[in-house]
């Protein structure tokens, strides 16, 4: 590699400092000199944590947060400066060259990067499993509230889906396809070595600004060390820590606007009137009024219309301010950060704000003992009564928003009572908060002498997670008696890990051993009180005792996990790599008839071909590694108390007084245990053509068995089902990540990152009888989520004879294919039409650098999935509510084949599946790095300004608000969706938002 010296004589200030620095008292033959240096990357960003080694000695140091290092060396010494994913540089220093600026270039050789692999780190070149590191660029300068939002489409094999854009909501993450049918499929999240999953906390509690790196363990061998929690993939987050030196104050902040990315516009007045007339005609009714409801007449006669979507929405605002201070001495290093995030939603009443504080501390107590803490506090606030977007889309443009006294009307389309005023939620009180108070500590002992290489680490984590919710709905919000509720919960969790590591080099043999003994426990307790019958709305939820009727409830549970793990890494000459791991997990949730313990072993091999003599000097191949692994991991899947037969309490009134009763509820299964995933992965990591192309390709195949399913029982038993470990699924896929440097000029550079992943998911077995489960639409040999439905071929037209195929069908009714050819349309004509998860996903990032300007464009795509489109059918409500203008209807004068008539009743339960593929311009970031020469004048270490836009445009065939988001129809919900911020139901339909922010990253000297 080419070595480049940069003399920075203009840094006279530093030179002065060097001169003033005291000279070593120890006398050597050679003169000692003090070197001060600054390490930067090619874009001018300083590089904290770069390692400076003095060649030929054991002397070394690292750069501080400003990228500055100081070292005392012999005159004429050679320094070697290295940094992850950068080409190492060596420079010679001498008396006349004591202040240096080193610019490191990306080597594309990510193989030298250090990656977190769980219970330790490894050099990228030594990794044998499939471990994806999230590109650093995705961790900054993006207006996201949850780090997963930044990952969407950016990491191969990690499928992130944003099913809701409600402020404070979290996207769903799926690593390498869905293993479980009924159990959770989300990856296990570990922050700084301590599990975040199963403590009640969420990634909302982790401020993205604090994240230094993020790794995703994907293949069975990499996740095996997380045993019964590993099979859905593991996300490892490492937060920033101090690197010593003078305090560095950084400010990262942005502020901007949010708008509805796409509006499914409701019909305007004229179109609404026409629809009503057509509806009456199609249902054989005579029209007596131009509008369906009497209360609409005055507005209609006056020609007044209301844009309800506009009434229910607002200009969204998003801002985030983060200040961090880091520094320390060689023995005490600190990183402290505080963050304030505020998001005002685009639908009225929605907001999210978060205050988070982090303090990470590392102390070298002695040369063999290091202790440290990672403490954080996050306060999530989702308060606020909210408008109902679904009702806003249903309102007549001639409806009445306000009463004469300025309050909201209850029924804008009176006497239509089905739809209340979409804004009523705004006059309710809603409190929704959660706090995560987390304290992690570690102590690390290094042994010497014969035990050299042995390290013991005690890792402890404690989480206290209180939540508080309260609500009040009163007279103004259509609750004549007033209804209040208040609930609070607390979750206490601890984790204790004993980790023993041993490293030994014997000639070219390198050994690493990791041993773990750990215990985790969680206690949960919640209470809820509700009250109705308040004198007036004065007290809100603050005095439940003032309600005439009160209820209370509470719930408590406990969860415990006890684990042992061992891992051996062996490598020979950095050419042949071998990893063997085994974990044994015992969990309280497993049945009393099992041992409660499961074994999860794995093995992996790696071959660094490029380190072989025949490739060592290749100019084409810079690095090449083959990887192969096989292993087993688990999914705890069972939730607490499912192995025990339980009774439920009920109430029933006699003589006006309700009495407690009990009824049999859950039939327990004492044999329940984890779901097991077993699979193989082969992969290749490569870097070619002077590192201009590098990347990784992985192929995998996994089988999951012992899937937890509700085995249906004959109802004669008194129970409908019992939970059992019976199903089997399989996933196969290919992942490609490619980083290229397309143009690499002096002033202009263009880099691209391609990410592609495809996963084939199928159900192998359900209940052991080889039969499909039609009710749940699970089919053996097909993916877990499929569309099984009638095939719509068009619409019955006037004059067509439906009597043979679909007796009773009128013109304007949907026409379905007689797939089984029996001449009739029956339930047997339903066929599998596609899958609900994408066949493939991909992302392309193009980054352009011109001098100090950087432009990054990220495009994401998800292809090949179907989704039921609820907006195509409003059941029996089409004549009673407004409908989207883009969704037409059949009529004699508009004989479309795409839409049904207004009188059509969907008696077959057809779901209206449509292609939900989309391509999105997800993020565009334009940044400007203020040149150092300018910064020096204002005494600032670095300064970057950026403009970032999110969800700029979506290309799709979907007719609706958005193909990715779930919109619920009136009265429906997804009780399975786990969202702390809101319930995933029809009252929380929320559009995709387009965000523009202006931001700055500043670090002060």
């Amino acid at each position: 590699m080419k070595i480049k010296f940069t003399y920075l004589t203009r840094y006279t200030m530093w030179l002065l400092m060097v001169m003033l620095t005291s000279i070593s008292q120890i006398t050597y033959a050679q003169t000692k000199i003090n070197i001060k240096g600054l390490v930067k990357d090619a874009s001018g960003n300083v590089l904290p944590g770069a390692t400076i080694k003095v060649t030929g000695t054991s002397q070394a140091t690292v750069t501080d947060v400003n990228g500055v290092f100081k070292i005392e060396v012999n005159d004429g010494a050679t320094l070697s400066i290295s940094f992850v994913s950068m080409a190492t540089k060596t420079i010679q220093v001498n008396k006349s060259n004591t202040v240096v600026e080193v610019v490191l270039k990306e080597n594309g050789k990510q193989l030298n990067e250090v990656v977190v692999v769980g219970y330790g780190t490894q050099k990228r070149s030594d990794v044998t499993g499939s471990v994806a590191s999230v590109p650093k660029a995705r961790l900054s300068q993006l207006p996201v509230t949850n780090v997963l939002q930044a990952l969407e489409g950016a990491v191969a094999g990690v499928n992130i889906t944003t099913t809701s854009s409600v402020p404070g909501s979290q996207p769903a993450a799926l690593v390498r396809g869905q293993n479980s049918i009924t159990a959770g499929s989300g990856p296990y999240v570990v922050v700084d070595g301590i599990p975040l999953s199963k403590t009640g906390g969420s990634l909302n509690d982790i401020n993205p600004n604090d994240i230094a790196s993020m790794e995703i363990l994907k293949d069975a061998s990499a996740v095996a060390i997380y045993g019964t929690n590993g099979s859905n993939g593991v996300i490892l987050i490492t937060t920033k820590r101090g690197s010593g030196g003078k305090p560095v104050i950084r400010y990262n902040g942005y502020a901007g606007t949010e708008d509805l990315a796409h509006i499914l516009e409701p019909r305007d007045g004229a179109s609404y009137i026409q629809k009503y007339a057509d509806y009456l005609k199609q249902t054989g009714q005579t029209q007596t009024s131009p509008v369906p409801n009497a209360s609409e007449l005055p507005n209609y006669n006056a020609g007044r219309t209301i844009d309800w979507v506009k009434e229910a929405t607002q200009q969204g605002v998003m801002q985030d301010h983060n200040v961090s201070i880091s520094g320390g001495s060689p023995d005490v290093k600190y990183y402290i950060s505080g963050d304030y995030l505020k998001q005002k939603g685009v639908v009225k009443g929605y907001q999210y704000n978060r205050i988070s504080i982090r303090s990470n501390l590392d102390i070298n107590v002695t040369d063999y003992l290091t202790i440290g803490t990672s403490l954080y506090y996050a306060n999530n606030n989702y308060d606020g009564g909210r408008a109902n977007l679904l009702f806003a889309t249903a309102m007549s443009p001639y409806g009445n928003e306000y009463n004469a006294d300025g309050t909201y009307t209850i029924y804008p389309m009176n006497p239509e009572l089905l739809y209340t005023n979409p804004l009523l939620g705004l006059v309710t009180d809603q409190l929704n908060r959660s706090v995560n108070l987390n304290g992690n500590g570690y102590a690390e002992l290094k042994f010497g002498g014969v035990l050299k290489g042995l390290k013991y680490r005690l890792n402890t984590g404690y989480t206290y997670l209180p939540t508080r919710n309260a609500s009040y709905s009163g007279r103004l919000a259509n609750t004549p008696l007033g209804a209040a509720s208040a609930s609070s919960s607390e979750t206490n969790s601890y984790t204790i890990e004993n980790i023993l590591t041993y490293t030994k080099d014997i000639n070219k043999h390198h050994f690493d051993f990791t041993g773990l003994y750990s215990a985790q426990r969680r206690r949960y307790f919640t209470t809820t009180g509700t009250a109705t019958g308040f004198v007036n709305d004065e007290l809100s939820y603050n005095n439940l005792g003032a309600g005439a009727t009160q209820t209370s409830s509470s719930y408590s549970d406990r969860y415990a996990l006890n684990s042992q793990m061992g891992r051996i890494n062996y490598s020979y000459d950095s050419r042949y790599l071998f990893t063997l791991t085994a974990r044994r997990d015992g969990s309280s949730v497993f049945g009393a008839s099992t041992t409660k313990y499961g074994w999860f072993p794995s093995a992996a091999l790696g071959w660094n071909i490029s380190n072989e003599s025949f490739l060592k000097n290749s100019t084409i191949v810079n690095s090449l590694k083959l990887r192969g692994s096989y292993g087993r991991s688990g999914n705890e899947a069972v939730s607490v108390y499912r192995t025990i037969t339980t009774d439920g309490t009920v109430r029933f009134p006699f003589n006006g007084v309700s009495t407690i009763g009990v009824l049999a509820s859950n039939l327990g299964n004492t044999n329940l245990h984890w779901e097991t995933t077993q699979g193989a992965n082969i992969g290749v990591d490569f870097s070619l053509l002077k590192n201009r192309i590098n990347g990784a390709v992985d192929a995998y195949s996994t089988h999951t068995f012992g899937l937890l399913l509700n085995r249906s029982l004959p109802a004669i038993t008194g129970y409908s089902s019992v939970l059992d470990n019976i199903g089997k699924t399989a996933n196969k896929g290919i992942e490609v990540t490619l980083n290229t440097r397309n143009l690499d000029g002096k002033n202009f550079r263009w880099e691209s990152t391609f990410v592609y992943a495809t996963n084939k998911n199928k159900i192998v077995e359900l209940y052991g009888d080889g039969k499909d489960d039609l009710g749940n639409r699970w089919f053996i040999g097909k993916p877990i989520g499929v569309i099984y439905d009638y095939k719509m071929t068009g619409v019955w037209q006037t004059g067509e004879d439906a009597s043979k195929q679909d007796p009773g069908a009128k013109p304007g009714d949907l026409k379905f294919a007689d797939t089984n050819g029996d001449g009739k349309i029956t339930a047997d004509d339903r066929v599998i039409q596609g899958q609900t998860s994408p066949k493939w996903t991909g992302g392309i990032t193009n980054t352009f650098h011109y001098k100090n300007f950087n432009l990054s464009v990220f495009i994401q795509t998800a292809q090949g999935m179907l989704k039921n489109n609820a907006d195509l059918n409003y059941a029996d409500e089409s004549g009673r509510r407004n409908t989207p203008a883009a969704i037409g209807y059949w009529s004699a004068t508009n004989p479309t084949n795409s839409f049904q008539s207004l009188s059509y009743t969907n008696t077959r339960g057809y779901g209206y599946p449509r292609d939900a593929s989309f391509t999105r311009i997800k993020d565009v970031t334009f940044s400007y790095v203020v040149p150092q020469s300018l910064l020096d004048k204002i005494n600032v270490a670095s300064l970057t300004f950026y403009v970032s836009g999110r969800n700029l445009h979506t290309f799709t065939k979907w007719i609706g608000w958005d193909p990715e988001q779930t919109f619920y129809t009136r009265g429906t919900s997804n009780s399975g969706a786990n969202q702390s911020a809101f319930t995933a139901d029809w009252t929380n339909n929320y559009p995709v938002t387009r965000t523009f922010v202006l931001g700055a990253n500043i670090s002060l000297k």
Binding site: Y368, A443, L481, N498, G533, I660, L667, A715
Partner: protein, 539 residues
């Protein structure tokens, strides 16, 4: 220093390992009862209360809003309207009544679940280690057996031969077979016989407690007797049925309502309609006819007062809110949506002139504009036009009318369920008498009801089973499960086709003899993989 580090290491390892006792992974539910609850008298008492709650969940089922229609439409008394929901469709369009039918599957599962809950109690009290005295034990046993018999009688009426399960299961079982009718009937008769001798008696008058000191809403011996009368009728043991019905009547604990009473006594109405006003329905509220009333309370004033969102009012009442100029009101019975409409046979052919059961207070046939903001039409009669008469202002029974000013939309209905009353006892008696050829006695029994209703008297030569069934419709419209009555008497096909075959909106089609039984749910046949559960003929 090295030594210290080793000691430190040793200590921390010891601490970490010591924390894991063997019980560390044990599971104990902190806030949920397990079957261990059921070992003492308080536990049995709670389990018995559970049975009433359970029956209530069947009646108030709201996931399929057309649920109450299933038992009425496509029979002789009612038809589905344009506002039908879906679950009731196969019950007039019988071609769709197949082994995957939702309603059949639901009711099958619910009654077996009730049987399981009753079996848990029966096994529990009969266990020698149960902590309960003999008297309490027999009373609890009897109450559980009443519900078990009730569930089995419903199952047999609907499905014919069914598997007989009389003990709770400890493990999943998949080899059930259908027991003979004789075996199931014998079990029902045994359970009811035991119940009659061990259940509480009633005190005279309107006391709130029965002879065992429990609320009068709990099972009494008369509930078991009335049920046994119906069981015997189904079994063809008409003389025994007559005895049981007669015994209820002769007990002197009940009398027909023949005078105005209760919360609306001073308002518009008549005494027959008084019985169906919320606040009047229970024995303790003055309803001297009440044998079994399943009580409901408004949960906004009594926590746990109801179980689900009962749909009866919405199903039975007219959707008058759809007519401009009519607003939802108490006097019109609250908000209904008319999912079913009484058949023309009921509306125009059933009642003789003067029959109180057909008064405007029991079957509302005319509507008057009541929207005060429309003075031009206020008070005028709403004219009948187009589809209005088919569900918007169709004539409908007022028995399910209910209005909560705090819940105008009224998705749920708060109203008691009249499960058994003395009026029906006379009809059971008359049926038993007719079937034995005692037509004069039958006429006497019917005339008791006719006298009460100010309807013309009948004579012995008019007495046929069909007449009794007509009279049941007159007396019990809206209350009885009409489908089950016709299935029990084997008259579903003949009567439905003869009296109600050509409804304008949803005519009854495909009704055949096989429909005298419902299909055994296909899923049950399939899940019962270790033995054959025969399907009913024709399905």
């Amino acid at each position: 220093m090295k030594k210290y580090s080793i000691i430190l290491f040793a200590v921390s390892v010891v601490i970490a390992f010591a924390s894991c006792k063997k019980s560390y992974l044990d599971e104990k539910p902190y806030s949920t009862y397990t079957p261990l609850t059921l070992t003492d008298s308080l536990g049995f008492e709670a389990a018995l209360v559970g049975l009433y709650n359970f029956e209530s969940t069947i009646l108030t089922y709201s996931s399929a809003q057309g649920w109450p229609s299933v038992w009425q439409v496509g029979t002789d008394v009612a038809n589905a309207t344009a506002n039908q929901q879906g679950i009731e469709v196969p019950y007039y369009n019988y071609a769709q009544l197949t082994s995957t039918d939702g309603a059949a599957s639901y009711i099958w599962g619910k009654y077996y679940s009730m049987i399981n809950n009753a079996n848990i109690i029966i096994d529990g009290v009969e266990n020698p280690s149960a902590k309960i005295g003999t008297v309490g034990k027999n009373a609890a046993d009897a109450e559980a057996k009443f519900f078990r018999a009730y569930a089995y009688n419903n199952l047999v009426t609907l499905f014919g031969k069914v598997p007989l399960v009389v003990h709770t299961l400890t493990a999943p079982k998949t080899d059930f077979v259908r027991a003979s009718l004789d075996d199931v009937n014998a079990q029902i008769v045994n359970d009811l016989t035991f119940a009659i001798s061990n259940l509480a008696d009633l005190t005279a008058g309107t006391g709130k407690l029965n002879s065992q000191g429990k609320p009068v809403g709990r099972a009494s011996k008369y509930m078991a007797m009335q049920l046994l009368a119906e069981v015997y009728l189904r079994m063809g043991k008409n003389d025994l049925a007559e005895q049981q019905a007669q015994a209820v009547i002769n007990s002197g604990k009940f009398s027909l309502i023949k005078a105005r009473y209760g919360v609306r006594a001073g308002g518009a109405g008549d005494y027959y309609s008084d019985m169906f006003v919320y606040g009047n329905e229970r024995r303790a509220q003055g309803n001297s006819e009440a044998i079994w009333v399943l009580e409901q309370e408004n949960p906004s004033s009594e926590v746990g007062g109801n179980t689900d969102a009962a749909q009866q009012r919405r199903v039975w009442g007219a959707a008058y809110y759809n007519i401009s100029g009519l607003v939802i009101s108490d006097t019109l019975g609250g908000r209904s949506i008319g999912r079913l409409r009484l058949s023309n046979w009921v509306l125009y052919g059933l009642y003789p002139t003067g029959d109180m059961r057909n008064s405007q207070y029991s079957i509302r046939r005319r509507y008057y504009y009541n929207d005060v903001t429309k003075p031009a039409i206020f008070g005028q009669q709403v004219p009948f036009t187009g589809p209005d008469t088919l569900y918007k202002i169709c004539p409908s029974t007022t028995k399910w009318g209910a209005y909560d000013p705090n819940d105008v939309f009224g998705y749920a209905m708060i109203k008691d369920f009249m499960m058994m009353r003395l009026g029906e006892t006379y009809l059971l008696l008359a049926e038993a008498q007719v079937k034995q050829g005692k037509t004069a006695d039958a006429a006497t029994s019917i005339n008791v009801l006719r006298t009460r209703a100010n309807a013309p008297q009948v004579t012995a030569d008019q007495m046929t089973l069909n007449f009794v069934l007509d009279e049941r419709a007159r007396e019990l419209i809206g209350e009885e499960n009409r489908r089950m009555t016709l299935m029990r008497t084997g008259t579903l096909v003949e009567r439905s086709l003869r009296l109600n075959s050509n409804d304008v909106q949803h005519p009854t089609t495909g009704l055949a003899a096989k429909n005298l039984l419902l299909p055994i749910p296909l899923s049950e046949i399939q899940l019962n993989k270790d033995a054959v559960l025969d399907q009913n003929p024709g399905y």
